[in-house]
């Protein structure tokens, strides 16, 4: 089943923070986050594996609560380049699998 992302869309001013949530009704082995700009391929941001770890990449970080089957993506001090649609992809089949089920996406717009 498709994970549920929230919010569907968000508008930020440069420098503001945002949180994007991803929740699943199925047990998860991993959660993958991607950003896709219009007309471009999705770009891998990070993967979070079963174990409740948190990862960071510059000003973008994420957490994974496997008990709640939820993941959150945190964007701090947003930049114009952060604009795009963010997708979470979930793996319910097993460790190391990339047969992902993607959420519907969260459209993030960062304005000056």
């Amino acid at each position: 089943q498709q994970p549920v992302q929230s919010p569907q869309a968000v508008i930020l001013r440069e420098g503001e923070d945002a949180v994007i949530n991803c929740s699943s009704s199925k047990a998860l082995y991993s959660v993958h986050w991607y950003r896709q700009k219009h007309g471009e391929a999705p770009v891998f941001l990070m993967i979070l594996l079963k174990g409740g770890e948190q990862k960071g990449h510059e000003k973008i970080s994420a957490s994974f609560n496997e008990k709640k089957q939820q993941s959150s993506l945190y964007l701090t001090a947003s930049q114009l380049s952060y604009s795009g649609t963010y997708f979470c992809g979930t793996d319910s089949t097993g460790a190391g699998s990339y047969q992902l089920t993607f959420g519907k996406g969260t459209k993030l717009s960062v304005i000056p």
Binding site: Q2, A41, P42, I47, Y98, Q99, F102
Partner: protein
């Protein structure tokens, strides 16, 4: 990071015809995946292409409609057969390398 080349980048096809999409990776990978992304929508996994064995299809996708070849560890093709306007979409190949997954630029298909 893996570099993925997809051909063609876009095409307009007549209904009832078939189109073969090629995916070339610059390094050997075990698993390749084919996704479909309808305009403004999320990504849906079509199948997993494994070298040396038949592709594994997701629910709702069948081999007769989407035959896949995987002749070696760097190349795969997806054919969209007997096309109808409902097949108009972006088709993307993806590979897993280490803990990351990469997408090709996609093939934008319009069926008229």
């Amino acid at each position: 990071s893996a570099v993925i080349s997809q051909k063609p980048s876009r095409d307009i096809c007549q209904r009832g015809t078939s189109l073969t999409i090629q995916c070339q990776v610059d390094s050997q990978v075990t698993m390749m995946f084919w996704y479909r992304q309808q305009p403004g929508q999320s990504l849906t996994l079509i199948a997993t292409a494994n070298q040396g064995s038949e592709a594994t299809y997701e629910s709702g996708f069948v081999i007769d409609k989407f035959p896949i070849s995987r002749p070696n560890l760097t190349f795969s093709t997806l054919t969209v057969s007997n096309m109808s306007p409902e097949d108009s979409s972006i088709y993307l190949c993806s590979v897993a390398q280490g803990s990351e997954a990469f997408f090709g630029q996609g093939t934008r298909l319009t069926v008229v």
